[in-house]
Subunit: 340 residues, 3 copies
């Protein structure tokens, strides 16, 4: 795997509801085979998905209480990765152990720490918002990309593409591409904020609004975004800074997104979106998710084609533009974390 | 890409009718991503299909008058390859330019020059015959090969395979493989001429004929072929040389074919075929195209399987035979042009 | 191809009934393209599947009596691999010859010797039992694996996986994994023997039995296995050694299996199975084949997933266990034969 991605980070492996009890789930993260299972007691366990014996995937195995049994030759693994039973062989070698990945369930996501377990630090989990948060009515999903995660990151770090790629879905005003957001470098990412003044929101209305959007894009690839519409003039009133969301008159929404590198050229994209509970309902959420699905499909087609061009280019060079500044900041964060 | 193919040459990229106005068309030629579009004014433009910014394919873009806009972040390209607009960024870097390929529409084909633009020489376009030529009633099509273009060239340079591979389609007499055509080396290719005396033509008849076929196979992979049937004895009358086509009694036909290397192991094969206007009609043309489709499918199966064997052979060696002489001549032409 | 597989060995290329007269059959063995055909006289011929001229596959060719004609340019091959006719060319070069593989039909299988022809030794063909043997009522089939043959060998050399992987098909008692078989090293393989005492056979019954199984696994990947049920107490009576099969009271069955490496990561698995003629009939054979098909599908899913993990592992290491002893013995045999 490319050295672009830090190992000392929490990667989203799945939505919580994608992991029922006693059903082992296999995934690649940074190219590493990982099996995750939820035990009888509800505990999550994440192990290297590779039996020590002959490298069969444990994700084809069977949960037994807190343990996981390889269904090839029956080795039984405890949650710490140790083999605790070898059928027909009393002695268990010292080396009979797979890596146990720190795994945490939070904000409706299952997070896996890909670095050394002793460095796992739960305070580094991005402050996402789960599907059960009472303030928001959120839909969720995931799609797979035949493209490197970095290309999806870059897509999410530069919304100047919205008026071009998403005319048929989000359909934002052209100013989305002509006006640059305010950027703030964060310890583990970058914050983007912008007003779109005297414009139509995604859900067209009779009167224009001042639209606000702000999002944090955090290592290793998590987006947390808030949007809302305010009466025209509000931007000036707030001195073009962050408004008080409680005074949004409509369109208050939130989205959480995460991009996980599976292998060098594949990735999985997790997303939620929906209205604030005071400004929408499940029906609106479903309309929004329909729009999002269409937009993400537009992204997927473009990004996979971009990957195809990259693959056909012997020494690919990008040309920096002013819309790339958030990408540059985020890349520096990723490089710093990857070196650490 | 293999160095077998000259860059200083015109390659067929599509049939003219495959390129409607304002619909960008992406193709690989010699491994290079190329986008071609027809502007409002009818002009053809061929550009490197790779945005300078982040390498998105311009073939997913949108035509705007004479220009082409990348639909990822909105860079606008003029027909000379220069970026003339970057949304939200007044300054356009000097390097914001993709390669503009010389492109010419002629003989119903769109030709792209893959070498330096300043060397493009339209006199090097092979003298093909377009679908609108009044003398011929031509059908057309194209098929893609999962095989190197060179293998298709070799197929077309040696018709001794006809009595074996095409018994179910063209069904020529055995002498097609036992008698060698007359060969003439050309500046940019090779000419093949032959009489098949006192034999049945493709479209069987009561009386035998002397059949004549001659074709030029020209760099970088274009075939122009004329056939016709004459009364038995004509070959001798013409001293076994080229007859006067106007004295053909039946079966006068013409075919244009072009093989374009897409990548190292894929190629696109363009073809037309049909009767002379005085000896056939659209119905006969359709029958002929049906036969050709069947024959080209026989070719495709053999050549893709041949490619499979080549891929499984560590150090592939061919064994020259007398039927290969046209291949040898053409290979020398290609080598000479590729070195230039 | 990996050096794991000896060239001086007979590999199963097909079932006899898969090779009708005059229909050339193409296969890869150890990565080598091989064409096999059955002549008018019933003789089998196996040649390098690669025309000397331009490497077209002879398996797309046409049988002509005892000979095989390449259907690309018509070269005619005699059974010894020599080109005996080149259309339109009287002179045949000395080098116009492909490798002729020794090929033998025996025990309903077609065996190909992959080493130098002069070393071919028919006594090395494993003593399999053909589908026409009067003692057994055998079904047959084959399946292809997207996995290296070695992984299938290892599966067949260690039946401790049965109680885990095949609970839904063979459903053997747990002791299959907890008790190790008796092993005997053979000149070209390994013999495995075991009693399962006072247990239920695959076909459940009212009373327990002492079940016996013994099989030889022979280079380059052939399994010959006999099973039978005896009254409880028989194992002790036979001093836990090999019983007299004629005293089996039920479940007497035989299976022949062969695993042929096609390429580095693909293989073909041939198998027969069925009851002894005195203890079953065609209906029972069909039930058994249904169970086997289910079990082999369970194997295929696990082994192909194992191959996927291996491919994702930079430096794969296995951890030896006591159940691997037959694998170790067989690997030593294969290494010794591969060096020879």
């Amino acid at each position: 795997m490319s050295g672009h991605y830090p190992r000392n980070a929490w990667y989203v492996a799945s939505w919580s509801h994608e992991l029922p009890v006693n059903r082992p789930f296999g995934i690649r993260i940074l190219g590493n085979p990982v099996v995750i299972y939820r035990t009888d007691s509800g505990r999550l366990v994440a192990l290297e998905d590779r039996c020590v014996h002959r490298l069969a995937p444990l994700s084809l195995g069977r949960c037994e209480g807190e343990k996981l049994r390889c269904q090839y030759h029956g080795l039984l693994y405890s949650p710490d990765g140790r083999v605790v039973e070898i059928p027909g062989q009393p002695e268990i070698p010292e080396r009979a152990k797979v890596h146990a990945y720190p795994v945490v369930e939070r904000h409706s996501w299952v997070w896996v720490w890909m670095g050394p377990a002793e460095l796992a630090d739960e305070t580094l989990i991005p402050p996402a918002i789960g599907l059960d948060h009472p303030d928001w009515i959120l839909g969720s999903g995931h799609i797979d990309y035949q493209a490197e995660a970095r290309l999806v990151h870059e897509n999410l770090l530069d919304f100047s593409h919205l008026p071009f790629l998403h005319t048929e879905s989000f359909g934002p005003p052209p100013s989305f591409s002509t006006e640059r957001p305010k950027l703030t470098a964060l310890e583990r990412g970058v914050r983007l904020e912008r007003w779109l003044c005297d414009a139509q929101p995604v859900f067209k209305t009779d009167t224009n609004v001042d639209g606000w959007t702000d999002y944090d894009f955090l290592a290793p690839g998590v987006l947390l975004m808030w949007s809302g519409s305010f009466p025209v003039g509000s931007a000036a009133e707030w001195n073009y800074g962050k408004p008080d969301y409680s005074r949004s008159i409509r369109d208050a929404s939130f989205t959480c997104q995460a991009v996980t590198p599976l292998t060098d050229k594949t990735s999985r994209y997790f997303f939620s979106w929906g209205p604030h509970a005071t400004q929408g309902n499940a029906a609106l959420r479903d309309v929004m998710m329909g729009i999002a699905r269409k937009a993400f499909e537009e992204d997927r087609i473009m990004i996979e084609a971009q990957q195809g061009i990259l693959d056909a280019t012997p020494d690919p060079q990008v040309m920096p533009m002013t819309c790339d500044r958030a990408i540059t900041i985020f890349s520096q964060v990723m490089r710093r974390l990857a070196r650490a």
